[in-house]
Structures are given as C-alpha cells and as structure tokens.
C-alpha cells in the first residue's frame, strides 16, 4: 500500500514512543523515517529493526559513554540516540571525522547525518567498510549495501554528490514492518472507556438540531 510521508512520520513517531523512547527522540525518529522513505528506502523496515532491539529498556548501555570523537557504548549503540547526538554535535565535524563503534542498523544514522549536513551547509559522508553514503541534507548517494550492524563507522565532511537518488513523495513499506510499527504505536493509545468517550471528547448535546 502507498502511504503519504506524513503518515509515515506520524506512525514512526508514535511507534518510537510506544517502544519506550522519550517524545523528543520519537519526534526525531519520525522525521528520520520519513527522510529515508523520501529517498526511496524502506525507512519503516529500518526503524522496525531498531525498535525490535528494545534498546529503550536499558538505554544507558546503548548511548555513547562520552562525547569525545570516538563514540562507543557499553553495548551496541542505538542509531536513534547516536544519530540525535550526531545532529546535535554537527559542528564537531568541522574539526575532523567522528568515529562510531558498534552501531546497530546504520541506515538509521543517515537521516541524522543529513540533518548534520544541513546544519553545516556541507556534504556529510558516512563510511562503514565498503558501504559509503554521502548527503547534502536533501539528496543522498549510496554505494554498496549497508550493513545490518557496523563495528566501525566514520562520519566526515565530504565534497561532492554525484548521481543522487531520485526523491519519492510516497512510501511503500514492507507490510510486516508497517504492522510492527502499528503495534508499537498502539501502546501509546489509552484503552477506550465509556467515561472517556463521554467526558474526554466532550460530547453531550445532540447534533440532530
């Protein structure tokens, strides 16, 4: 099924919250998923892979221990939290590449690299083994398959973009992944009660007038 990017963003945001992340991170995850889908990539499937890991249950182990140039956590790094940090600290890229160790689902880092590129008005490259991505914030160039996990990733300011991917205005996510986000999102909804139906939405007066 074809979804609007707005639907993708809203669902991804709710799902991330439902998976236990804070609202501010969920907002970022929504934008990130949307950005991947706008590149014609299945951002929904990538986010589902991250949420499935359950990092939010023990988040302290999955974020960089310190902010110095070589980022590593106690366990695999969460790409949402690490991506948010990369975007927050995009200015640090001006003084040299950042290295990230043991990052889960590196595809999810790309939209945050794009946000860093927009903030620095520069091209940002993300390299993990033979996988290379480059973005100016809007457009994206990919070389080779991204890994499911990266033991070392290097993020740096780069120079040119050749043959960027075509932008998409709709998303066609993997149905199983979409359903998984739906299940996570459902955790943010309060069960319907008659009290809520009557009081919460403020009904009462007849509309047959």
């Amino acid at each position: 099924m074809s979804f609007s990017l707005n639907e993708v963003e809203a669902t991804a945001k709710r799902a991330t919250r439902g998976a236990g992340y804070d609202w501010g991170v969920a907002e970022e995850a929504g934008k990130a998923t949307r950005w991947l889908c706008a590149q014609g990539l299945d951002g929904v499937a990538e986010l589902a892979r991250v949420l499935e890991r359950g990092f939010a249950n023990n988040l302290g182990e999955h974020v960089p221990i310190h902010m110095e140039a070589d980022w590593a956590g106690g366990m695999d790094l969460c790409p949402l939290m690490t991506g948010a940090l990369l975007s927050d600290c995009s200015h640090l890229l001006q003084s040299g590449p950042s290295r990230i160790r043991n990052l889960a689902t590196p595809a999810v880092l790309l939209p945050f690299a794009a946000q860093a590129a927009r903030r620095q008005t520069a091209i940002v490259t993300v390299v993990a083994g033979d996988f290379i991505a480059a973005t100016d914030g809007t457009q994206l160039v990919l070389k080779n398959e991204w890994p499911a996990h990266a033991s070392v990733i290097e993020v740096a300011l780069g120079d040119t973009l050749t043959n960027p991917r075509a932008q998409k205005t709709r998303a066609m996510p993997d149905p199983a992944a979409w359903n998984m986000l739906g299940r996570f999102a459902h955790r943010t909804y309060a069960p319907a009660t008659e009290e809520s139906r009557l009081l919460g939405a403020g009904a009462g007066l007849s509309d047959n007038d």
Binding site: S2, G24, P64, C89, Q115, T188
Partner: protein, 561 residues
C-alpha cells in the same frame, strides 16, 4: 512640546499568548478564508459543475471545479440518505449526510469510482496522492427542513431563521496534509494559490457551500415539482457552512509552534503597523466606521447556549457600546488615532472587545496588512534541529523567557496538573482526561510545554552553565522536546501558549477558537468546554457574484436596504 509619532512595537508575547486572550480572537484581513476569496477574485478563477448526479432521495455524487491561473481543483461530493439516529458530529461517527474529497485537477470517471468506494467511509477508507483533503458534513436538521419546505411550496425561507443558524450543513473534520493517504502538504506548498496555510481546506469548504446550496434546491424541487421557488441569491448568501470542532485542533497549535507563531506574529505585525499610522484619512475613518457598524450586525446574530460564551457575549456587546460612545466622543482625527484607540481599549474593554477592535482597525489598511499573508506558512523546517553547542545557561534563559511564569508553580499540586492529554485507541482521537481519576497518565501526550519547561529548567540547574546542551541531552533525552521548543522560541516568540494546558481550569475551546479565528470563522458557539460550532463563509459571494468588490468584506453583513 511636540510629539513625533513613534513606531509602535508588536504587543508582547506575554500579553498576547494567554489562553483567555487567544480564546477571544476574531477573524481579520489575514484570515485564511479571506485570503482565498481575495485571490480567487483577483485571479478571475472560473468555476464549473461537471457532474451533478443526485436522485430524488438526495443520494448521488457531484463534482465542482475551481480553475485558477495554473491549476484546477475539484470537490468530489457524495450525498447520502442518513437516518437521524446516525447523525453525529463526533469523530466517532461512522456515517454522514455528505462526504467530500478535494481532488488535485479534474477527476476522471475512474477517479470518481475509486473515491466513491472510499470517501463515504472517511477514516475507514483510503485516498491517494491525487486528493488534497477529505471531509464530511451533516445537515442542520431544522434549517434544512425549513428551507426545503419553503422552497417546495413556492416560498422563500425566513431570513431570521437563517441568521440564527447560519448554515445548512456543518462540516466536522476537514482532513488535509497526507491524512488517510492524501497528498502531503509538500506537494502543494510551493504553489502560489495554496501556499498559505489551509488554502486547500478553505477551498474545499468554499466549494462545499456551493454544493449544499445546489443540493437543497434539488431536494426542494424533488418535493415541490413545478411550483418550487428558486432560492433568492440575497438569501442564499447568508447560508454559510458550519463546522463542529473538537479536541483534535487543540494539540495542533501546541505541536506546530513555528506555524502558530507565524499566524500570531503576522497579525501582531499588522496591528503594530496600523497603530503606527500617523493620521487617518477621511476615507479610512469612514471605512472603519462602516465595518464597525456591520460587525455589530454580525455579532447580533451570534448566539450561544454555553454559559461562558453567553457571559462573553454580554461583555462583548457592552464593549461595542463603549466603542461606539468612545468614537462619538473622541473621533479619529488626532495623531496616531489607532494607537490611541488601542491604548484606550486596553483600559476600557474586555479581551473580546480588545481583540475585535484590534482586528477591525486593520480593515482600512489592506496595503499595509495583506502582504503579511505570505509570512504565515511554516517554511522553516531547519528550526527542528537542536543546536547542541548551545550552553546550558542560554537554554535556561530561553526557557525563562517563555515560561518564567511557570517555573515557580508547584507542578505536583493536583490543581496544576489535574488534566492529561491522551490519544484514545478508539478512532485515535485526542482527548483530555482527569489525571487522578482515569488511567491515562501513562499515555500522556507532550502537550504540557509549561510543565515540561519547568522540569527541564530544574534538571539543567544541575549542569555546568557552560556545558553544551548536547551533553545534557545525551543523559536526559526526556528533555529533548523541551530543549527543541526553547531553541525554536528564538525564531518563534509567539510559539508558546503562556498558560497551563493541563490545569484543572483549562478551557480547550480557547485553543480551538484561536485556530478557528485564523481560518476566518465567526459565531463561535461552544457546545462544552472542549467542543465548538462555528460558521464559515456566511455572507460570502458565490462564484457568479465573486469579484473585486465582493471578495473581502463579505464577512461583515450589510444592513438590508
């Protein structure tokens, strides 16, 4: 001593962004409906009705097309035969008297077929990237019956009844921006005719009004046959389109701080520009006085059964008398007449009256004001990114600027956090509940920026002032949304409501009215503290009447000759 006219500043956010004031806003020249009708008239839009296939029971479909200089947009309308027991304006409704989609272009038969399988289902259906909005409407049962019966017996409807209700059909939700599969806002954001906020939605309602007029005539004809009267255009003009709006709108203005800022700031800038005008010409004064008189007529038709609005209307009517008396006494011949009038209003009128006056003084000054229309969309997606290098002290200062009033409040006291916003699993609609009486706190939506700001402010206090806020956020992601908002406030000084949105006393209808006033709505009629009916386009010209002379001031009724 000579006084040189000074450049009047915009009003302070601390004054403007209080909920009671936002809940007293009135439409103005910058309202989205008026932006649309001005544009359609200036650009000579052409309207047509390529399909009107409705049976004697009022069931069928119709298409209304509006052709601008570059593109055509079409309302695809489905009319239904709805049993009264199913008629509900609530979002939990599952059937309606009429359902609509705004199609980007002119639909083919296949498009109409596809839409006929989805649009009547509303939330349970799917639309596509070719559709810009999805909406539905219910009849005002009494007025509908009155108009049909009168026309069918060869008579015209009673104007007094029309003034009282204002519309034949009431829309409920008008969904845009990618909802239920429709096109994203980005698809149309760069088109001049729909780049301003909610223009596609306003167009859909404008076309809906034409459909409703045609449908009531059709139904009268089906009943009355040859003796049926043709609805008098001078009566038809007073048929607006109603809207019933619930809590879905309240989160919108909290969740879009930059967009909401741009609306408020454009109006505040307009007010400041007019207050700065050195002298008013006779023509400007005459126009203002005329519009004031006409607005009194409109307000005389504004009825509500809600105790709070009844009280506000009493105060507003007293304010109208006070304004009239003040104008008679002091006139507008002095230096900076509008500035004096506004300063006087701040001491003499309630918030309803103050905001009405602030909107009315803009009317003679289209040349100063209307250009601000182009500043009301949100094109600043870059503001979403957090500047992690910002020192903790600066973030705290930003929080203090918007939320200084909230920092010392005891946010654990029941009265200050009595409510919680949540999304119900039923139809996924936003609701407001009692935190201490219902099991909803675990599902709370981030719609209490003031409380969250106070929490972040306290947490930041434990960090070195020079530390980059990124370091803080790495350890405290729970404050990430608050830090983002605080940084946004640098470009959006009017982005934050300066009141408690979860207090025991909060009135969600204030938030609804703030948004609806920018649509250009009139006759706010709260049905509870979280549910409001309004009127749109009453008095507006239909396509055959639309021209430069009728495109703008239609919102102010003229006394019948």
């Amino acid at each position: 001593m000579t006084t040189t006219p000074r450049n009047v500043e915009r009003r302070e956010p601390a004054r403007v962004m209080r909920l009671s004031r936002l809940g007293s806003l009135h439409q103005c020249r910058l309202s989205f409906m008026r932006q649309l009708t001005r544009r359609m008239a200036a650009e000579n839009w052409v309207f047509s009705r390529p399909v009107f296939d409705i049976d004697a029971n009022g069931v069928g479909q119709a298409v209304y097309s509006a052709q601008g200089p570059d593109r055509t947009y079409s309302l695809v309308a489905f009319a239904h035969d709805l049993p009264p027991e199913q008629r509900s304006d609530r979002v939990i409704a599952e059937a309606w008297d009429a359902t609509f989609a705004l199609f980007d272009g002119v639909p083919t038969k296949d498009d109409i077929q596809r839409l006929s399988r989805n649009v009547p289902l509303q939330e349970a259906g799917r639309v596509s990237e070719s559709e810009l909005s999805l909406s539905r409407a219910n009849r005002s049962v009494r007025l509908w019956a009155h108009v049909v019966d009168r026309l069918a017996t060869g008579q015209q409807p009673d104007l007094a009844q029309i003034y009282k209700v204002g519309y034949l059909m009431r829309t409920t939700a008008v969904y845009g921006s990618g909802k239920f599969g429709a096109a994203d806002r980005e698809k149309i954001a760069d088109r001049p005719e729909v780049s301003a906020p909610f223009q596609a939605e306003m167009l859909s309602v404008y076309l809906t009004r034409i459909f409703v007029r045609d449908l009531v005539q059709h139904m009268a004809k089906a009943k009355g046959g040859a003796q049926t009267a043709q609805l008098d255009p001078d009566i038809a003009r007073w048929l607006g389109i109603g809207n019933s709006t619930g809590l879905g709108m309240a989160p919108f203005i909290v969740n879009h701080p930059i967009l909401f800022n741009n609306w408020i700031m454009a109006r505040e800038e307009a007010i400041a520009r007019v207050r700065s005008v050195e002298t008013a010409t006779d023509a400007e004064v005459t126009m203002f006085r005329e519009v004031f008189e006409r607005s009194k007529l409109s307000i005389s038709w504004w009825l509500s059964e809600h105790p709070i609005q009844i009280e506000k209307l009493v105060a507003l009517n007293a304010d109208l008398d006070a304004i009239a008396a003040h104008l008679d006494q002091t006139g507008l011949a002095r230096i900076q007449p509008w500035e004096h009038l506004i300063l006087w209003s701040q001491t003499a009128l309630g918030e309803e009256g103050q905001e009405l006056l602030a909107s009315l003084i803009l009317e003679p000054y289209g040349a100063l004001v209307d250009g601000l229309s182009s500043c009301m969309a949100d094109g600043n997606s870059a503001a979403f990114a957090i500047d992690g290098a910002m020192p903790v002290t600066q973030v705290r200062e930003l929080i203090r600027t918007s939320f200084g009033w909230a920092l010392d409040l005891d946010w654990s006291a029941a009265a200050h956090c009595a409510r919680a916003w949540y999304v119900s699993e039923e139809k996924l609609e936003p609701r407001l509940g009692e935190r201490f009486d219902e099991p909803i706190a675990d599902y709370e939506q981030p719609l209490a920026p003031a409380r969250d700001a106070a929490r972040a402010f306290d947490a930041l206090d434990n960090w070195s002032g020079e530390a980059p806020v990124a370091e803080f956020l790495l350890r405290h992601p729970e404050h990430r949304h608050t830090v983002r908002r605080a940084q946004m406030s640098r470009v959006a000084p009017y982005g934050e409501i300066r009141d408690n949105t979860i207090g025991a006393e909060v009135m969600p209808i204030d938030m609804l009215r703030a948004k609806l006033s920018f649509f250009g709505a009139t006759h706010f009629d709260p049905r509870s503290d979280r549910w409001v009916r309004i009127c749109m386009y009453a008095g507006a010209p239909y396509p055959e009447e639309l021209g430069p002379d009728t495109a703008d001031l239609w919102v102010y009724p003229e006394l019948a000759q």
